[in-house]
Symmetry: C2
Subunit: 409 residues, 2 copies
Amino acid sequence: MEINGERLREDIEANAEFGALDVEGNGRTVITGTEANRKAREYFVERLEDAGLDVRVDAVGNIAGRWTPESAPRDAKPVAAGSHLDSVPEGGIFDGPLGVYSALEAVRAMRGSGVEPSRPIEVVSFTEEEGQRFADGLLGSSVAVGERSVEETLALTDGRTTLADALETMGFDGEGRLDASEWDSWLELHVEQGKRLERTDLPVGTVTTITGITHCAVEVLGEANHAGATPMPERTDALVAASEFVRDVEEGANEVGETTVGTVGKLNVRPNATNVVPGTVEMGVDIRDVSYDAMDELVSLARDSLSRLESERGVETSFAREFDLEPTEMSDRCRRAVHDAGDAANIELLEMHSGAAHDTMHVADVTDAAMLFARSRDGISHNPEEWTTWEDCAAATQVLAGALASLAR
Amino acid sequence: MEINGERLREDIEANAEFGALDVEGNGRTVITGTEANRKAREYFVERLEDAGLDVRVDAVGNIAGRWTPESAPRDAKPVAAGSHLDSVPEGGIFDGPLGVYSALEAVRAMRGSGVEPSRPIEVVSFTEEEGQRFADGLLGSSVAVGERSVEETLALTDGRTTLADALETMGFDGEGRLDASEWDSWLELHVEQGKRLERTDLPVGTVTTITGITHCAVEVLGEANHAGATPMPERTDALVAASEFVRDVEEGANEVGETTVGTVGKLNVRPNATNVVPGTVEMGVDIRDVSYDAMDELVSLARDSLSRLESERGVETSFAREFDLEPTEMSDRCRRAVHDAGDAANIELLEMHSGAAHDTMHVADVTDAAMLFARSRDGISHNPEEWTTWEDCAAATQVLAGALASLAR
């Protein structure tokens, strides 16, 4: 069974047009509920139908296309694979779409090759994996595993609009709930977003563990005041205090461990005028590790930093651990299927952990799951410079197709 | 001659309604070209006309109301006084409006008291003193002193709209150019925005020198990347580098001298998402002192900080000194008039420098000028907590009126 790399490339390149940036590289911004998101979804549905799959959109906008081969018993649980179509602001064209369209290509290849699976295959795109508008990430999959109810999810708001309204605007307010626990197993192919495959000169990796992830919301309250008329000793500058916090998070992450990462990715100043001493700073902090204890350790260091700033700089601070997922082990059965597929295709696989969160973290809670990584150029992602060669996309898709076929055998 | 504190209060309270914030205190946001700015301008023109002054709006939206007493020779140069009606985002209700409406109240008091000045009195409101939309500050006065041409000023843009369009939208696109060099002298009453009057328990101050002011635009370029998949050692985080710069500016200001202030008031992160390592940070830096050498010293320290960050953190940086004014001495003649008025009103005045920039910095380049300060509560300004008691407003206005009368005698 041979996958068609050219057909895969055409889909990914077509999808890259939606929300495309006018900058160097291949950037796109596809946020839930935008015109770009609607177009990306409509194109995906069209391609699923072209491939003869039965398409379903659930109440939170998750999209699934199912191939039910005649060789499969009516009651057979499907094997599922996919990823997401949304992006971070100014993100790349492979993060998400590679997993969605490689799964579709795998099904097209299986159908073309005349294999007779004993299970249906389901190609899936989850809503808002990147968490840029309505939630903090992995939204669609959190509903598909029952961690979040459809009702509370539809009521989520970006401050002005509810997810329900955003989905309706796009015409992707479907019915029911895609239920991942009904799947026999799940595979997700994703770009590595790191440099390990590049360093080891291998195109494809198989994931052992996905790091846990914590998002914390931090606020620093000082006193807005006149930048010219307020002597240095009389200031309570929220930004100077926040700057020490940013440094402390970096220092803490370096202290805790080799696999620990800590990032202040978001920072907003108020009133944010050159001639006004900053009165308020809001920050979003991202903390991850393969060890949950290590994550807790960095969270404590961040809290300690704020306590110190309160006593030393007279600011008030608040800290909320808003989003928290423990590290996730991949299933042995699925990993074996991936390894066998690699052997069959003569593609050597690198065993590695994932520093990035993926919908697979949720799916693994309710069924056997595993992930494949495709080599990223310079480890760059969430950036228009994100790149994976079409050869590597094809190699990883070949392994994915083989693994799906063996899980569905 | 007695000024009417109640009449003054009514004008300042009425003006405070335009752009009023829905927060504790008495905040307002009045940016050039907004609905709030239009209403504030229309109310001011109405009050000038109520007082029988001849109103004129120039090409850049500066507003002047002139009283030409019969006692004044046709060719007599006017004595002018005023300030501005715009504010910073979420600013206070006295910063600007006190100087505008106290000047109007002074003229009303003079007319009511039957004094017979030998010079006309001009009440002035300059366009965009706070520099929040089209320029970096003191915009209207820069045109009134010929430092900036009407043409280039009207062509200024906020990125989408030109000042010309903004003025036309408000109906304040007048003709000609208000020429400060035609004034015999100029006085501006403003809130202190500091704590020195409060500490010395005096309601009114007279300014000796206005500090110079420099605004610098700084950019730090790192590499946007995935917050989970990028190990700490492989990052070029623009925000961590910018945070060190913010600290260095504070430290530098503390080093250089007692009267030196340095502020990073504006900071914008891109892409500004919790799960993305910051790729770019833009900052606005404000540097002031009564000594221009001291200002230069802090600018050098800021540049040194960026050079260090380039070598130590691998970021690229840019630094532009976009706005620069040297310290300004007040005129002896005008200061004497203020002192005499204080004596006549039995109000003791504190001699002090101004840490804040004011339109008077420009006017002093072309004619004799001085400033008065009214006591600020807790030294707070550019903040809804900005406050000056109505008694202090009246006392300062009494001194202003006396000084204007003696300059126009």
